[in-house]
Symmetry: C2
Subunit: 126 residues, 2 copies
Amino acid sequence: MNRIPILKLQNILLVSIQIDPSDVTIQALQEDILKEISRTGAKGILIDISALDIVDSFMARTLRDCGVMAALLGATAVITGIQPSVAITLVDLGLDLSGINTTCDIDSGFEFLQANGKDQLYPYSE
Amino acid sequence: MNRIPILKLQNILLVSIQIDPSDVTIQALQEDILKEISRTGAKGILIDISALDIVDSFMARTLRDCGVMAALLGATAVITGIQPSVAITLVDLGLDLSGINTTCDIDSGFEFLQANGKDQLYPYSE
């Protein structure tokens, strides 16, 4: 099984999914992300899927669950780089990413998390 | 062969090597990094090896070459997170990382590249 690397920059975890991952890999990623949030106290998690042309229902559900679980640990999740074809498929299949933030690319996702972390979600942190 | 993902944030390519890579993987990473610099016009490349306890001579040479090649394409390379045991091994074996910048963690490497990109290497860019 391939493990997808998680990179911590400032308060934010960065994940880039660049090859179509198996169900086991994506499940392991979810666990790794939650462990890393818990270990590092990260306040944001950015998952880039711009390299993926296909997202199946399992992956969509796992990513959404990951966002909800991250929120329970005090972190905001953002999915970036959803391809037009992926957006069409998600809506056509009735797959639901509600409750998770999305932006068009990594840079805007990173800015969103930096702004969110400081101003809205954690008003008492510096 | 596993390919190591390369993530672009602002003008900087981020790479995190988290499992001990084979020679073929590290060679492919070198090619991927150079292609990405050429494609995106990135001005910095950060390679984090904090998860590695062992760096062999091939990997050390490939990473150093990668830094020199990146410089030819106009990008600055930084290797971050060299473990104490790796530093000891590199010096004991006489392996040479001269000509490549190193910092202790990703955050400081990122800051170094941002400062370098703006002030020193590209004085005419905004």
